[in-house]
Symmetry: C2
Subunit: 121 residues, 2 copies
DNA sequence: CCCATAGTTCGGAACTTCGGAACTATGGGA
DNA sequence: TCCCATAGTTCCGAAGTTCCGAACTATGGG
């Protein structure tokens, strides 16, 4: 458990980032870590929207984000603090993260309405 | 087979785009369609780098790109012509596609050297 | 030493992806 | 018209991935 693996920024691959953020829960977790002034415990994110994420799935989501090079996790006492690696990733792949985060943000407005429409059928 | 389904641009979801482009073969296919002046037959893309892609996998890749809203396919005689929906997607999610395409492009330089280094061990 | 809390690992069920073989659709001769 | 060639699609089994509950490990506080 101890040695949390973080890839060096030059080993970060675009496909890993896209794969990590192609899951809306993971994208939401990542967006929260970014917005939250860059440090957040895993358990603070146990829900996305109104959906509860089981601990084991959460643990896996964090692992995927970590191994994609998107976040850095450190043990602080009994909990894990997660910081986004935004600046590093932005330097390596300029425009990638803003594009993705904006896409999800602009979609968030459309999504509830879609859900209503779907429910109305 | 006949009715090729294309989502309306407002139904296109960011996670579908990320998922479609998280596969390097599909990203390469999409980049080629874009660069090639926007129209290309499926079979013109039967290889990515030096790797041959079987017909059935190719067909599936095109389907994923189509259903993600990234390309538009039309039958022209016996073949399918594929055009990228870049402008529409760019209008809906500004910066998303350039960010992704640039990330892959800037990684392409790093990749062969990585391969050499790995081979040298 | 024991307990509580925070995460990780394990393992099986459900889902996805890959690719070969067989199939369908379209157009061009003869 | 019939047959052939070409371009894609569908089917299906093997291999891989994801999800999540249960059991486990690590850390710190009585």
């Amino acid at each position: 458990m101890r040695p949390l693996f973080h890839p060096a920024i030059e080993d970060v691959r675009p496909e890993a980032i896209l794969h990590a953020l192609a899951d809306p829960s993971r994208a939401a977790i990542f967006a929260t870590i970014m917005r939250a002034g860059c440090v957040e415990a895993c358990s603070a994110l146990a829900a996305v929207g109104d959906r509860v994420i089981p601990k084991s799935s959460l643990s896996n989501h964090f692992k995927v984000l970590r191994e994609a090079g998107l976040i850095r996790s450190e043990r602080h006492g009994v909990e894990l603090r997660n910081a986004s690696r935004w600046a590093e990733v932005e330097a390596r792949f300029p425009g990638l993260l803003p594009g993705i985060i904006n896409a999800y943000a602009s979609d968030a407005g459309a999504c509830p309405r879609d859900a209503e429409r779907a429910a109305a059928r």
